[in-house]
Symmetry: C3
Subunit: 132 residues, 3 copies
Amino acid sequence: MPHFTLEYSANLDGLLDMDQTVEVVREAAVETGIFPLGGIRVRAVRCEHYAIADGCNSYGFLDMVLRLGEGRDLATRKKAGEHIFRALSAHLDPVFANSKFALSFDMQINDKETSWKRNNIHDALKAEAVHG
Amino acid sequence: MPHFTLEYSANLDGLLDMDQTVEVVREAAVETGIFPLGGIRVRAVRCEHYAIADGCNSYGFLDMVLRLGEGRDLATRKKAGEHIFRALSAHLDPVFANSKFALSFDMQINDKETSWKRNNIHDALKAEAVHG
Amino acid sequence: MPHFTLEYSANLDGLLDMDQTVEVVREAAVETGIFPLGGIRVRAVRCEHYAIADGCNSYGFLDMVLRLGEGRDLATRKKAGEHIFRALSAHLDPVFANSKFALSFDMQINDKETSWKRNNIHDALKAEAVHG
């Protein structure tokens, strides 16, 4: 945890650098201070086929879902979500200026009772902090 | 809202036009009358790697998930879902006639407390309605 | 039901055979004995763009989500999840040995009130059992 998955319409190619975009989300997630660094995973899925609103082909979208673990209260989640959304939205200002576009962001909470993980990045980060 | 994401096995290539398919879902979603036009986003994700049932490679699937906002009662959601599923299922009749196939559709409700959006398509549609 | 969706960082190419990987999950799902064979669908989505932890490009991830139907108690779901996770995790031992990597697995339960399906694989499997 946390997992950020961005789905986006393929017509964003050329309008938006997606490597930069996932990095913007990652940095904003770190800045919230509520996530363990080694657990942050952001990724984007390009959608070749899509249909939006009245079916106009020039419309675009980017939809982000965050799945996170239990244990953070609503106020904490709202504040963190607000911060991340603002960063992503600002990054998309040029897209909004040049196209008709829909951006969205929703959160889901994973059930800790049915959650499994294995991760050697946490240890790598600790070793870096000590020896780096 | 609403978000429709279709995941499908890559062996549908050649059996199904995916641009047509997302359009069928979009039109059915509009017909339900319960969604703001400018919020409808349908997309498809092609899955190159998959394993189905007893592992037979010729099986295929299409799985659709709708995420929608709070505020519609169960009867409304069931009626809308039924309408959309029927349209999609009818569109897939040739696939069922020619292959062993699994179609599915589930709904999820987003928590309005942790939901953010920015969308200039609504205004574009209004401007079109006035000046178009 | 059940649906297993694996999202993974594109840098797994060359480290992991994804056709084998979805097959490992499918077999483990069958072994749990709690799923109808004809309903099992496993697929993987390759993510070209991602950002992990402190942004180091060599990190990788694989995140699996299982969506399943209602009607199985927590103990049953935990036992099945544990079995599937162990199989997947063991399959990824070489990846953990050779890279910094994050594996995760979460379950979600679909609302049976808003769930639709059409599937001719069940009948194909029955015919096979009788005539095969």
